[in-house]
């Protein structure tokens, strides 16, 4: 069953997968492209600046992967109004786990591509003393960020139309409340609170605000 689901999800998101894998190869290589000779006094400066600048690409890549894989997990069923999926002789929980697991497997594939690419990129570049490469660290962080975002998006995209309408209504209400609070100078920002709840310390997406440096001290 898992292989069948995995194959169907692969067929659904293979284009996105190829693009994402391409990006996973390109980002580490491009981020270290301008690295000069270690004898250059500015080598560390250039390397760390470039790494920091390209660091933003990793969480973006993780988010894009999560989005593509969650969409790939649900889109075939949404398109068929869930009729086929719901007439398969398998419990709902098991079916959801299979779909979730298949998406996760594809996320691991992208992470594996990233791992290889970061290792290759860092091997090719001579590092100034006291600086280190973290290909494993960045891959683990990518995987964690992708996992968190994928799980959230998988949950959201799998909502029934009624629940989806409810979530959208709550979100609109929060935006409206933020607007009213701003206009009335209440000194309260519910939208900010929601963002904090999602991205603040110990929140599900806190990892997206972490440090994404392939080369670091």
């Amino acid at each position: 069953m898992f292989r069948a689901i995995l194959w169907s999800q692969w067929r659904e998101s293979r284009l996105a997968m190829v693009v994402l894998a391409g990006m996973a190869v390109a980002v580490p290589l491009l981020s270290l492209r301008g690295a000069g000779a270690v004898t250059d006094p500015w080598a560390s400066w250039d390397l760390l600046r470039a790494t920091a600048r390209w660091g933003a690409a990793y969480p973006v890549l993780a988010l894009a992967a999560a989005l593509a894989l969650a969409a790939g997990a649900w889109w075939p069923d949404h398109r068929t109004k869930h009729v086929y999926a719901l007439t398969l002789p398998v419990s709902r929980v098991r079916y959801l786990l299979l779909r979730y697991g298949a998406g996760l497997t594809l996320l691991f594939v992208i992470a594996a591509v990233l791992a290889v690419s970061t290792v290759v990129a860092t091997i090719r570049v001579p590092l100034p003393t006291l600086l280190h490469a973290y290909p494993g660290g960045i891959t683990v962080r990518f995987l964690l960020a992708g996992l968190s975002a994928y799980t959230i998006l998988f949950g959201l995209m799998g909502l029934t139309p009624r629940m989806a309408r409810l979530v959208a209504a709550v979100f609109l209400l929060v935006v409206l409340a933020a607007l009213v609070a701003d206009l009335a100078s209440l000194g309260w920002n519910p939208l900010g609170s929601v963002v904090d709840a999602l991205l603040g310390p110990y929140s599900p997406l806190a990892i997206f605000r972490a440090r994404w440096m392939l080369i670091d001290v």
Binding site: P41, W42, S44, W45, L48, R49, K81, H82, L86, R92, V93, L96, L97, Y100, T129, L130, L131, H132, Y134, G136, G137, I138, V140, R141, L144, A145, L147, S148, T151, I152, F154, G155, G158, L159, T160, P161, M163, A181, S185, L186, G187, W188, Y202, S203, P204, A206, I207, A210, R211, W212, M213, L214, D216, V217
Partner: protein, 341 residues
């Protein structure tokens, strides 16, 4: 001034005939005096209007806050919170610093924002009071810190950034400092450095790029010098551009503030009093006095804490566990979704 004169001349133009007999310079001077007196009057009117707005003054410790009657309880709570924090930071003798300038908050028509926190106001009051204390009692240290006062405690992540800055900036003392040489740290922090900071901090082969990083306005000659420095590697031209005020410091403001933070942590409640008392001596002596330990010890602690910060994107175990726990929880919620469409 030139623009103002042109504007005045444009104003005068329609009456050019009647003023023809007068000396233009004298007319200009009179008009400028008139303009100045008008501005003075406007400032006075604004000041009176401002005073009329505030009907009440709250006193919290040494802090005085001019506010309206409605905002009084809110301002009082914030003031007391700020004062407690100031006492903890600058010691009990903070009261001996004399009267703090009056701070204004709100106006007669203001109401307390419904969901505003007194803590936000308290932090603002604390920041302005701290700046005032530093500027009156520790101006030299404040200047060394770039004229800014650290707000709150410098975080672990900021300390990591200082370490990265130390290794990133191609200054002579930086790598040695990171490797544990105390004197190099003193030089990097600008505590123990000669008058020629450019030579003390940077190798000549780094000067052309440093010149390229100089921001702010340059006059024509300076622009030419910068071109010569960057393109022809003319070191004398580089030197003319890279004045002490324009040289990139090997360690920035946060790194310096962190040293002060460590000195205060080490020195305890009376650290600031000792720093303020030693007015005549050098920066390193004042910092050592505040810390209550020799400057070498303080610098060692600074360097060691920089090296101790885990760097790189390696996910610490708690981050790993947190990510997995959140994913597990969210997945459980997703699995509880109804099969009914």
């Amino acid at each position: 001034m030139c623009r103002r004169r042109l504007a005045l001349l444009a104003l005068l133009a329609p009456w050019g005939g009647s003023l023809h007999a007068q000396e233009p310079a004298a007319v200009l001077q009179r008009m400028e005096e008139r303009l100045d007196s008008m501005q003075l009057a406007r400032a006075l009117r604004d000041s009176l209007a401002l005073r009329a707005k505030y009907s009440d003054t709250v006193v919290a410790g040494g802090l005085r806050i001019a506010t309206s009657a409605r905002l009084r309880p809110f301002a009082l709570a914030a003031g007391e919170e700020a004062w407690q924090s100031l006492v903890a930071r600058f010691g009990p003798s903070v009261t001996a610093h004399g009267a703090f300038p009056v701070t204004t908050f709100g106006s007669t028509r203001s109401t307390v924002p419904k969901l505003a926190k007194a803590g936000d106001l308290a932090r603002g009051l604390e920041r302005s009071a701290a700046l005032w204390i530093w500027s009156t009692q520790g101006a030299a240290v404040l200047r060394w810190m770039g004229g800014t006062v650290p707000t709150g405690t410098i975080s672990h992540s900021d300390v990591g950034d200082i370490a990265e800055e130390l290794l990133r900036t191609p200054a002579r003392p930086n790598r040695a400092c990171y490797s544990g040489e105390t004197m190099a740290c003193a030089a990097a922090l600008g505590i123990h450095v000669g008058a020629d900071t450019l030579d003390a901090w940077f190798e000549p082969d780094t000067w052309p790029r440093l010149a390229g990083m100089v921001s702010g306005e340059l006059n024509g000659l300076e622009r030419v010098a910068r071109e010569r420095c960057m393109n022809a590697g003319d070191l004398s031209a580089c030197r003319s551009i890279l004045t002490p005020a324009r040289v990139l410091p090997p360690v920035g403001v946060v790194g310096r503030q962190y040293l002060v933070q460590l000195a205060f942590e080490s020195g305890g409640a009376s650290a600031f009093e000792r720093l303020a008392a030693d007015t005549g001596v050098t920066l390193e002596h004042r910092l050592a006095a505040a810390a209550g330990v020799p400057i070498d010890t303080l610098l060692n602690r600074w360097g060691a804490s920089l090296r101790a910060v885990p760097r790189g994107p390696a996910a610490p175990p708690q981050e790993l566990l947190l990510g997995l726990a959140w994913s597990g929880l969210l997945l459980t919620m997703a699995l509880r979704g109804s099969r009914w469409r």
